[in-house]
Structure formats: structure tokens, C-alpha cells
Symmetry: C2
Subunit: 421 residues, 2 copies
């Protein structure tokens, strides 16, 4: 048994009693097992059934073992692995023997699973994120309780990709560097007005007001996060410069010098891109303001992993640059000024979170039960694997109205641009 | 008469004799003139007819005057200004009194002309760039003669957007800085192999081989340019490291560490994006190579100005980021790593070229006649206006295969990336 922090916990005995299968596998079980084993053989992951049998013929030692503790799990892996892997792991029906991270990364590197048709169908059927739906989805994830996130995020509670100026930076340094990078890309100047859509626990809004002297209106629909953010602003004497507003991004009004949104676009959903575009046009383009979108994206359109979407982020969809450019920015009259792909930085961020989560595991289990920490470990390890292998991207996109100058002459230039003659 | 280098030349008397209109304008002429004047009034440009009459009621002094020397020109301006402006200016039927650059920029700022429907129709009917068609189009523009371009380009004959590290840089410095920027974005290392599609007079290929120690295969279908490039490589002792190949980019074969193309994509045409994508997949993606595309683009799909397309660049189409991402890069298995919009740098580059062209005007007229320098002045001034006003963009896009790491940990990091654990 590897000593990795990702090693799975022992299977709770209560679960084993509830399984369908008896102690012995049938010829059908072994036939199905051989099929699944063939599909994952290239990842050097070994499948073992509940009686210890395995069809693994892989070369050398396996990266790790999947142990299916009952027939239902075996069936699920055969029919819709993307979805069942997560649920079975969460419930303890599926055990991962060996380090979770590398096993998930090896499986992520395989060709798209057979469940792709299911994902496509789901994408077509998926209802658009109505204001009520968006609220429900956000509550599902972000209102788990500030205390939960405080156990394993950095002290500022930043729950988005950090920027590691060098690979040895700490998570705290990297989150602060990310905020500086965003402000510098936007060329924020003292006295300017900024609207933030989806402000989390308020760390960026506070950073912008404190270090860049801007006035901020920050929108969020997570009640607990807002309470935390308001308390911090009051404590730091910044309440006069930041207004934290409990409302949907679609209701943003007013005129601003800059629009910023970190980690919200992937929750907006394609069906609502036109609404975001209208907001941008109304509150920034029309007044010569610029903006930055920071979001999890894809190279080619594909729905989010089915299990992540069902259990972790309902309603989420990581868009492509093409979708954002053509459905959000172009209709808002915005030109793309700058795009940076930070996917390796997100893999590093997730590795930091996994380490901290492992250290807080006992506290999480005590409060939320057995399944919950297993789901989160899988989510963090799976996401890290997705960013490390290029299955998911992290884009920062800077944009400015077509008619106005880009915010600077060159990327490295701290000065505003003087449009050339 | 303004003293600007852009002031138009006097109308050759021979032209006036060929016009339809007599010395006096009819009520119909004056009605049409009032219509055209209304359309351009917001640009503060005054229209004057051949007998000196004008319907201009604009506020204060006009930026400049358009003088229509005959009824045919007036009709053309009313029906399809985008196309007729160029032809009438080139032939001398339309005179611009005042500085050409600011007049064109003011007109460029107006809402899209009524000719848009014509452009759309043309885009639909426009045949794809076959290999023969591409060859004809390239000859149309680039085989005017090396001597012609040597009159007004920099000594390296770089006919693409430069990079002005600071606004006071010279054109020579800015072209060299552009080449360094491209090589640095690609993180070229000594001994690597690079394929360049559309190499012009070879300046970048020579720069890469000389300063970055790479081996280059550079493709071009312009015979005169290749002859120049080969002679330079031989003279500089770089012939062993660069192979200049007279062939279409679609015939590129082999495997390379990097693909680079500067100012070719806008000549490829949407219909051939799949062909470029296949080339990328075959010669770089499959072997873990990365690439850079530098091209004139748009925020939203729209054909190139009709006159530029007819007279200057047949077959050209400046694509959007969305079109390049979804039709070239995603199907080639490439992730977008970095995008930079350099449109203000192209406006500055064009201003430099216009100045040099004006200084070489007499030499150009002597060799090519009266119309030719007028066409080029308008093309340079119009292009500068398009980049200055955001009507056209200049994108540099860096990409790498989905599975491999981006070429560096951060933008500023000269080291290769070590993928994080």
C-alpha cells in the first residue's frame, strides 16, 4: 500500500453487506471484467473483482488497482465509467489501491470514454441556468459552509487558479500574485470603478480596493460568502470603497471603468452567454471600459465530466476561446487584447489544495460523514489530472472596446497607451 | 492645401476630358450629392462636385474634402462607396483635398457602408484559394518586383506588422524586435527544427538561424522573394541551416519542433483552414511541436474591404480568433497558450511605411505610372486607419499540443517548463 496521502481509506464493512454479488464471481462477471480491463489497460491500471480475480495482463507493475466490491459497480464501470467511477468511489463500492492522483491522471489520459454520447445528450437536454437555477447550483457548492473551505483553502479563501511566478512559490504567494496580475492586466488606476461578477469571499475586491485604490461593486449570490466578505471589508476599513451586492450578474447596472470575473464564466452556461454579453455592452463597452475574464475552458467543445457536473458543479460548462470570443465578446463590441493559458498553474493550485485537504481529512469526515471527503478527494485529484494532461485549460482573457485603444502599448508597459499618430 | 505628405496630387487634365458630366451639375446630381454628404457628414468630410458646389453643412472646418470630378464617381460613391472610393481615387476621378490619412480614418469611423450586402454576397461566391489561385493571388501582390518594395520597406524587407518595444523605436528596430519576440514566444533552442509557411524575403528565417541556432525549412510561392532570400542565405553563410522551398504551405511535410507563419493566414481563406489544420497536425502536433500564427484578424466575421480585396490582395480574408481556434487549432489537437493583439503596432508600422513611400513617390511613378502610387497611398492610409480605429486587429497566437506542456512556466520565464507534480 503506497504511503501517498491519496491512498484510499479502507472500505467500511457496512457497505460490503449491501452489495448484490456473493463471494464468488460468475463467468459473466469475468467476461465483463475483461472488457473493462481492456479499456483501461493502456493506462496501466489493474481492475480487481470482489473475490480477488483480475484480467490484468498489463506490462510490468500497475500504476494502481481499482477494486470493484460488487457487480453493480462493475456494471457501472462498463456502461458509463465517467459517471459511475465517481459515485462508486464516493460510496466506497469502488476502492483505489495505490495513489489516487496518478491513477486518476492515468485514466484521464485514455481516449474519451464510451459515455461521450451520454454527455452529448445531457448537454442538449440540460436546461439553461435560470436565475433560480443558478442560485440553487451555487448554493449546492459554495454554501457548504465557510468553515469547510477555511479548512483547506489559503487564509484569504481564494477558490480559483493561482499564479505561481516561480514553481516554488507558496499557495498564499501565488494567490496574491494572481490578484496583482489581474489588476496589472486591467491597468487599474486609483479612483477608477470596477464591477466584479462572482466575487467569492471577496479577496480580489479587497485586494483591488486596498492596493489599487479603486472603488468596487462586487456581485455574488452566495449568502455565506457575502457575509464573510462584508465583515472583512468592515474590519479593514474598506467598506466605503467596496459594495458587496447579493444579486445575479445579469442584474448588474451602472457604468464602470473595468469589469472582472474570476471563475464565474464556467458556471454561466452557454445558453446564458448572450446575457453576459449584454451586461458587458451595457456597463463597460458603452462607456469605454475594459475587462478580464478568468475561466476554466476547453480546446474543443465538450461537456464537463458527468460526475463532476452531477455531484460537484451542477450547471457548469467550461467553454472554448471560440465560444467566448464569438458569443460573449464580439456581440458586446469587445476586441480580444490578450489571452494567457494558465493550466499548469491550476494543476499546481489543485496539488496544494489536495495536500491541505488531506491534512484536514479527519475534521471533514467528522462533520460531513464518510462519503463527503472521498468525493472531494476524487474531485481535486481528477481536476488536477485534467489540467496537468491538457484535458482542461485555464484562460485569462483581457478585452477592450473595439473603438478604444488597448489599455497599454505593450504587455510589459505599466503606462497607458497614447494611440499612435 | 495641407502640407501633409498625404496631400493628393493634382488631377491629370487627360482624365477630366473623359468624364460624362458637363461643366454644370443637374438637380439630380445635387440631390445625390446631398445624400452622400449626409452619409459622411458625421466624419466631418466635405463632398464637392465638379463645378464647385457642395451640400456640406457640417460643424466647423471639415477634416478634408472629397472632390468628385464626374457624375460616374458621384454615382459610385452613392451605390458602393467601399469599392468605388478606391478605384476613383486611384484613377484621379476622385480627389482628396487635405491630408489623406485623417480623411480615410474619419471615413473609416462611420457605421458600415451600404455595400455590406455586396461584401456578404461576394464572400459566399468567392471561390476557395486553390493552389493555382493562391499562386496567382500571391503573384498579383508580391511579385511586383523586389525593387519596388526595397524603395519603402526596411532594409530586411519585412512586410508585416513590427513590434515597437517603445513608441519611439525605429522601424528597423521594431522589425528586429518582432522577430525576437516571435522566437522567444516559441522558446526556440539551438539545434531545433522550424518550418516557416510564407517566408516573404526570408528575414525571419535568417534571423532564427543566425541568432537562435535552429534549422529552418521556409516555404513560399513567390519566385522573386525566394531568389532574394536564397541569395542572402548564401551571402551570410547560412545556406546549410536554411532551406528555402518554392511550394505551397499545403505541401509541407516532415516533422518539426516548431511551426511559424507570419502574415500568411489572412491569405489562406476560410475555405482552406482545414488544410492548414491538417498540415499542423501532421508536421508538429504529432511530434510534440508547438507553433505561432501572426495574422491580420477581426473581432467579428466580415470580409476584407472590397477595394483592397479587388486591387491589392485578391483572395484575402482576415479571420476572427474564434474561426482560427475552432477551424485551425482545435482540429489540429492544439491548445491556445497565448494571444497578443498588436493592432496599434500595425498602425505605427503602416505610418512608417507611408512616410517612406511618400519619399519614394517620384521613383514609383516613373516606373509604374500615375495610378499605381495613388492606389498604394490609399491602401497604406486606409490600412493604418483600420488598425488605429480597431476595425482590424493583429493577432499573435501561440499554441502547443493538448497533451504536451506549454513551452514555458510563465510568459516571462526563459526556461522550459517542468510540468508540476
Amino acid at each position: 500500500m503506497a504511503s501517498s496521502v491519496f491512498s484510499s481509506t479502507a472500505l467500511p464493512p457496512a457497505r460490503r453487506a449491501r452489495t448484490w454479488a456473493g463471494p464468488r464471481t460468475s463467468p459473466f462477471d469475468r467476461w465483463l471484467s475483461a472488457r473493462v480491463q481492456r479499456a483501461i489497460e493502456a493506462a496501466a491500471v489493474r481492475l480487481e473483482l470482489w473475490d480477488g480475480t483480475s484480467a490484468y495482463r498489463g506490462p510490468g507493475a500497475a500504476v494502481g488497482d481499482l477494486v470493484a466490491h460488487d457487480r453493480r459497480t462493475l456494471l457501472g464501470l462498463a456502461i458509463n465509467p465517467e459517471l459511475w467511477f465517481g459515485d462508486a468511489y464516493m460510496s466506497g463500492r469502488l476502492e483505489v489501491r495505490g495513489p489516487l492522483g496518478p491513477v486518476v491522471e492515468a485514466l484521464s489520459g485514455l481516449p474519451a470514454p464510451m459515455s461521450t454520447w451520454w454527455d452529448r445528450l445531457h448537454a442538449v437536454l440540460m436546461p439553461p441556468n435560470s436565475r433560480t437555477g443558478a442560485r440553487r447550483n451555487v448554493h449546492h457548492h459554495y454554501d457548504l459552509g465557510n468553515d469547510f473551505y477555511a479548512l483547506w483553502l489559503d487564509p484569504e479563501l481564494v477558490y480559483t487558479c493561482a499564479y505561481f511566478a516561480h514553481p516554488g512559490a507558496t499557495l498564499e504567494e501565488a494567490q496574491s500574485a494572481k490578484h496583482d496580475r489581474v489588476c496589472q492586466k486591467l491597468r487599474l488606476r486609483p479612483g477608477e470603478t470596477v464591477v466584479e461578477a462572482g466575487c467569492g469571499w471577496g479577496a480580489l475586491a479587497l485586494h483591488m480596493a486596498r492596493r489599487y485604490g479603486v472603488r468596487v461593486k462586487a456581485f455574488n449570490i452566495s449568502v455565506e460568502q457575502l457575509a464573510h466578505a462584508r465583515a472583512r471589508a468592515a474590519r479593514e476599513g474598506l467598506a466605503g470603497r467596496i459594495e458587496f451586492i447579493e444579486d445575479d450578474y445579469r442584474n448588474v447596472s451602472g457604468r464602470f471603468d473595468a469589469f472582472v470575473s474570476i471563475g464565474m464564466l464556467e458556471h454561466v452556461g452557454l445558453h446564458q452567454f448572450h446575457a453576459l454579453s449584454e451586461v458587458l455592452e451595457r456597463v463597460v463597452t458603452r462607456h469605454g471600459g475594459r475587462g478580464l475574464l478568468h475561466f476554466i475552458g476547453r480546446d474543443a467543445p465538450r461537456p464537463l465530466n458527468a460526475w463532476i457536473r452531477r455531484r460537484i458543479f451542477p450547471g457548469a460548462y467550461p467553454p472554448t476561446i471560440a465560444e467566448v470570443a464569438s458569443r460573449v465578446l464580439a456581440p458586446a463590441g469587445m476586441s480580444i487584447v490578450d489571452v494567457e493559458n494558465l493550466r499548469l498553474h491550476y494543476a499546481r493550485t489543485l496539488a496544494c489544495w489536495s495536500e491541505r485537504f488531506a491534512a484536514a481529512r479527519d475534521a471533514v469526515r467528522e462533520k460531513y460523514g464518510d462519503e463527503f471527503p472521498r468525493a472531494w478527494e476524487l474531485y481535486l485529484a481528477g481536476s488536477q489530472a485534467a489540467f496537468a494532461t491538457g484535458w482542461m485549460q485555464l484562460f485569462q482573457v483581457v478585452f477592450a472596446p473595439r473603438e478604444s485603444a488597448p489599455p497599454s502599448w505593450t504587455r510589459d508597459d505599466p503606462q497607458d497607451v497614447d494611440a499612435p499618430a
